[in-house]
Symmetry: C2
Subunit: 188 residues, 2 copies
């Protein structure tokens, strides 16, 4: 019998990250994740298709959010500004998830297959943004370059955000990285 | 008995690309590659560690070339200019390899595991360039942003180069993409 479980998704995510960190991703089973969360395997599969999706569902949601903002940018906005606005507008997604993001990154860094998956997700995010820019009339290579620049900025700002030494918020770090990108491409 | 085989490496590469295109990468064996090239498996393994390396050995060589140029940049050269010079200086690597590059790209595009491998190689190229920039005194995030921008420019210029419709040479396309990147990041 299926019953309502308070915050099952969050509990499963938390349990999975703990186990991936303790035992390694490859050594952890869905059964163990469910058990640690005090839930059934059936509940796990109601929320995630497999143990990998626990780490990557968020990137799909982020992808949608970014593409949607770029596709609906105000008329006349410069492409790079649309991408910056999209990224800055998506940081709410990470509110309260700093510790989670830190753990997730450590799990991914320890596993080549997961790193490859992460890179594929980021490449697909860049392709989605480029497509949205082209649909708004930005030509290539400008569309691809702008999308790639945005994803690079996000990646670098995100790494800085989860760095313990850094106390700035993600929106600020994204803004700083865009400013820095403008500066470095101008040869300064 | 090992004997001298004229251009064994090039023949093996050519045979492998043909077979990957005809049968699919997963369905092709080293034995078949050697046979198509009129060589032995033993000769294959004298040149490549496995069938995947036939597609990726060039990226390692390119990586070395780029990092070396950045590490030995003239004093006072702006980081982005060092990266551009490194990329433009490496295009000789692709002389006479347009058809080869086109085929290689088609094989990779048809196989998710190879795409992941390609992305890992590019990420490692970016990390290598960033490290060389930091060793020369460029701080982060400028070093990482510059390296990421360079790899993006290269990827996009390369895609344009292997596009049949495009007749410009790779060095020119890289220069154009850097100019375009400056323009888009400036919000134009």
């Amino acid at each position: 019998m299926s019953r309502w479980e308070p915050n099952a998704r969050g509990r499963l995510e938390q349990a999975a990250l703990e186990l991936y960190a303790e035992r390694g991703y490859d050594q952890t089973t869905v059964s163990e994740i469910a058990q640690r969360a005090g839930l059934t395997e059936r509940t796990f599969f109601r929320h995630f298709t497999d143990k990998r999706e626990v780490l990557f569902w968020g990137e799909s949601a982020l992808h949608e959010l970014l593409v949607n903002r770029v596709a609906n940018a105000p008329d006349g906005e410069a492409p790079i500004d649309s991408v910056q606005a999209a990224l800055e507008g998506a940081t709410g997604f990470f509110d309260g998830r700093l510790e989670h993001s830190r753990r997730r990154q450590a799990v991914i860094a320890a596993n080549t297959a997961l790193q490859e998956r992460e890179l594929i997700k980021l490449a697909s995010m860049s392709a989605g943004i480029a497509e949205a820019l082209r649909a708004r009339g930005t030509k290539d290579p400008a569309a691809s370059l702008t999308a790639e620049a945005g994803v690079s900025v996000f990646k670098i700002a995100f790494e800085r955000w989860i760095d313990e030494a850094n106390k700035r918020d993600l929106t600020r770090l994204i803004g700083d990285a865009f400013a820095e990108l403008k500066s470095v491409t101008a040869g300064r």
